[in-house]
């Protein structure tokens, strides 16, 4: 599903390597947590998989498609297969909740269709938005202003948008960084159960080792742009490793 080979990435020509010789193989439907301190390269890895940052060396293949060198329509096609949610939620406050949710369909819509939806959404499209919101228990907020949502609701709307996108891979970049422990658990549980139901691959970067071991199949630790450990949950959850990772 996702094959990364000897990946090297820099943010710009002057900066040092943010990712240095990363190699990773991910199977369809796997749920992987990526742990690491701030600046380790987690966000850079996700942005590179989505084709937002150029690859200096190595390769990334998503469902058999090489990311490097893609442009225009082919890049957009790839992006429509990769959902992305982040710690900042990245919703557009000025849009309604239904508009933010249906933005997930932009990759399969024509430009005219997208602009028509902004002005006059069809009943079927609103129904699709409502269905996605009901999966995150927010259908009552369908016609709300996004700026009126709470932090947890923001995150759930971002997940609903990813559901509408129907991605093969969902990249969740510290999705619970600004949430309290109870809400964090609820969001991660929701993400994992949706991944099971829909069959998409989930890569989720986190700061909290306990959450990683509780919810994910596999835990990868990145340090200074390199993979420091890559273990299945059973192994990682052993007390010795837990202490090492938590240190």
């Amino acid at each position: 599903m996702l094959e990364i080979r000897n990946l090297v990435v820099r943010r710009d020509h002057k900066s040092p390597r943010v990712l240095n010789q990363i190699s990773l193989s991910v199977n369809r439907g796997e749920k992987i947590a990526i742990l690491g301190p701030s600046g380790a390269g987690k966000t850079t890895l996700f942005r590179t998989i989505s084709g937002f940052l150029p690859i200096l060396a190595g390769s990334i293949c998503v469902d058999g498609v090489e990311v490097s060198g893609l442009r225009g329509r082919r890049l957009r096609n790839l992006r429509s297969q990769i959902g992305m949610i982040s710690q900042r939620h990245d919703l557009v406050d000025r849009l309604g909740v239904h508009q933010n949710v249906m933005a997930g369909a932009l990759g399969r819509w024509t430009t005219l269709h997208a602009l028509r939806f902004l002005l006059r959404p069809k009943a079927a499209e609103l129904e699709e938005a409502k269905r996605a919101l009901s999966r995150v228990a927010l259908e009552r907020k369908l016609r709300s202003r996004t700026s009126d949502l709470s932090g947890g609701e923001h995150q759930r709307v971002a997940i609903a948008r990813a559901l509408v996108q129907q991605p093969l891979v969902l990249l969740a970049d510290e999705p619970v960084a600004s949430l309290d422990p109870i809400l964090s658990g609820q969001i991660l549980s929701l993400l994992c159960s949706l991944a099971n139901e829909n069959g998409f691959t989930l890569l989720c970067s986190l700061h909290q080792p306990d959450l990683a071991y509780e919810y994910f199949d596999r835990v990868i630790r990145i340090e200074a742009g390199k993979i420091a450990s890559d273990e299945p949950r059973q192994a990682a959850a052993s007390p010795a490793v837990e202490v090492a990772v938590g240190a």
């Binding site: 989505s50 957009r76 429509s80 959902g83 990245d90 557009v92 932009l106 819509w109 997208a114 602009l115």
Partner: protein, 463 residues
Amino acid sequence: MPGLESALSLLRQFFPPDLSFSYIRAETAPLFETLEIAAGAMFLALIIGLLFSLIIGARLPGSRALYGLLTTFRSIPDLTLAILCVVLVGLGPSAGTLALTLFYSAAMGKIFADLFSSADPGAIEALHATGATRSMIAFYGLLPLRLKDLLTYGGYEFESAIRASVIVGAVGAGGIGTELVGSLNMTDYHRATTLIIMLVALIAAVDFLGFYVRRQPKLLLVLAAFGAAAAWHHWPHLMVVTQALKTFRTMVPPQLPAEAVRELPTLIGQTLLIAIGGTLMAVICALPLGVAAARNISPLFISFPVRRLLEALRAVPEIVWGLILIGIAGLGPKVGILALGLHSAGALGKLYAESLENVAAEPVMAMASTGGSTLSIAGFAVLPLAFAPMTVHTLFRFEWNMRAATIVGMIGAGAIGGALFNAQQLFFYRQMMAYVLITWAMIMITDAANVRLRKYWRVSEEL
């Protein structure tokens, strides 16, 4: 279509421009003088405006009164100030520098104060929590939080000051404005075109410079040094205080004869028609042009020429558009609407494009990650995110056009400006002062209405 034929025939008289080396060389000095007036006035206005706005932003004692004073002072159109300054310090660039310093100190002071007042309250509260004084918060919080917007506005106001220095030149305050109005009055249209081209080139150079200053703020030091030298060179060294007081005594108390009172509703209606019509026309033109000029939406082969078109539209001041269009549209409010519409389309188009370029990158990237086309992403993310600053710019432009409606009125578009100019020409200074006060009241009411609209649309906090 005889109207169209005469319009085309008049337009043809503007071409070809006089591009002889001797003429261009002769006009370089007044062009440089225009730049000096703008730079000198802006240097002083930046210092005064920034100081005032920090006092207001930090809510130091007297800040409310100071804000009221700035609001009042910027409601006097710059051309009116220039006429007063010519009377005070005589003909020449000193009058222009003084008039623009007064006008832009108030204008920038108010805009900067509005920016500071809407700075991130969380960050300001965090600084308060450290026990910092209000002055410390101004320098550690307000300035860094709003630096990017200050630079954007500073650059825009500098451009605006260059056009204003052309306008004040028209009443004898020096620079290329005197030359341009002279050419148009003498129907020497070929040379007028040359001067307009030179002006467009100057505005383009300033726009280019503004782009680099935003990237390399250190360049501001070079500009500041030039501004300081220009201000020193042109600042009036001898104020004719007694002459100024004597003239002022002939202006008070303001008085309107009965006939003028009867005409007043028509004049006010015409002024509003020019300002609203001009702004509407500008918005309709600036929306597609702004999208086309935004570098993050349109490809370079579209954005580059559209940016040059916008520069050309706004490089020509409203008063000059008015003088050019009178031959085509005739006298009356119509010429005012067209003049304001064309100039404001250039100004708003540029501000719309910058608003679109300055939107937060993260939500746009999140939309792009869904695989949507560039235009879909513009519709779903860039435009909604830029809605607040674009609305604020439009409302500020409407405020600006209320002042500009007075200025174009002076050259034949009628309205209050025409009546004011006639009174001044006939030395009816008490009547002139009455019209100045009515103009000021109209602008104050418009400003207050704009504040309410910004709150209603929830855009005041999002510039």
